[in-house]
Symmetry: C2
């Protein structure tokens, strides 16, 4: 774990190597906010990434979602998820789904992707498998514009938890 | 090499695996334009990526440049460049620089990065080492706004050449 002073002292290569995947497979987020150093604290770092995500055109927001893997999808089965995604899906209990739950999630994932053109993204660490299965079925009823916004808000939550696993949340700085 | 029909038939995973690095380390570009299929030809594919780059906020454009390695920099020495960058830097003759040229490039790279906050990016395949050395010295005199634009235009040229190494340029479609 780093404190924020150490984060601010990192050179660019080390910064990207630590923070390049706080948004899944999307190192442009960390690269874009590099100029905003020094960061006051981990919340400030997070806020800069959120602002960058908000400034992306809709195609870019869709791209951010598309860079996320399906929950309990093919990559999970192959063991090819990023380290971060593996831990998150495990924390949600997705590795303990029954065959029936797996099939429901797989089929609903496919419907979701067909309807919206991007995958279902949810902050797995803040949801257990039951909530995730319920969530995907409900969110399938939304419009694409609604799901684009909801998906990006979930990306921001995932990002904060990933940041908090790297940087000490020193509230005395706030 | 793929023709454009085969490109349009790729599923998303295969599309990202083929096109994820047409902009260096920046797979959001390919992910963002996925919705624009079918592509008429490789030029159309390129145009969509250029439009996406143009829509990025300035911080995002800076991020795109920052994801590029220094020419003949540390990553090249370590053999840690992407396959594409290795071939491009070799094509420009950067692997045959004299020690004096190497030192000039290294020093000017550092000055450039200090002045602008992002690395010097040039389409190496369209320039020989002499032109690159001359280019970096000249471009160091520009403003940051000018270099942001010039850098992104170079990214677009690099992207077109990378696309043309993947997709057949079938002019009969145009």
């Amino acid at each position: 774990m780093l404190n924020i002073s150490l984060v601010n002292e990192l050179n660019y290569e080390d910064f990207i190597s630590r923070f390049g995947n706080v948004v899944e497979h999307c190192s442009i987020c960390a690269a874009a906010i590099w100029r905003n150093r020094p960061f006051r604290d981990v919340r400030h770092l997070h806020q800069e990434i959120c602002s960058f995500l908000d400034l992306l055109p809709d195609t870019g927001k869709e791209g951010v979602l598309r860079l996320h893997p399906d929950l309990a999808g093919r990559l999970a089965e192959l063991g090819s998820l990023t380290q971060e995604s593996t831990a998150e899906q495990k924390a949600a209990g997705l590795d303990t789904m029954t065959p029936g739950e797996k099939q429901l999630l797989r089929e609903t994932n496919i419907k979701y992707r067909e309807k919206f053109g991007f995958p279902f993204v949810i902050c797995a660490r803040q949801n257990k498998k039951e909530a995730i299965l319920k969530g995907i079925v409900e969110r399938l009823e939304h419009s694409a514009a609604e799901e684009l916004n909801i998906g990006i808000e979930e990306v921001k939550k995932i990002c904060l938890l990933r940041l908090l696993s790297i940087v000490i949340d020193d509230k005395s700085h706030m």
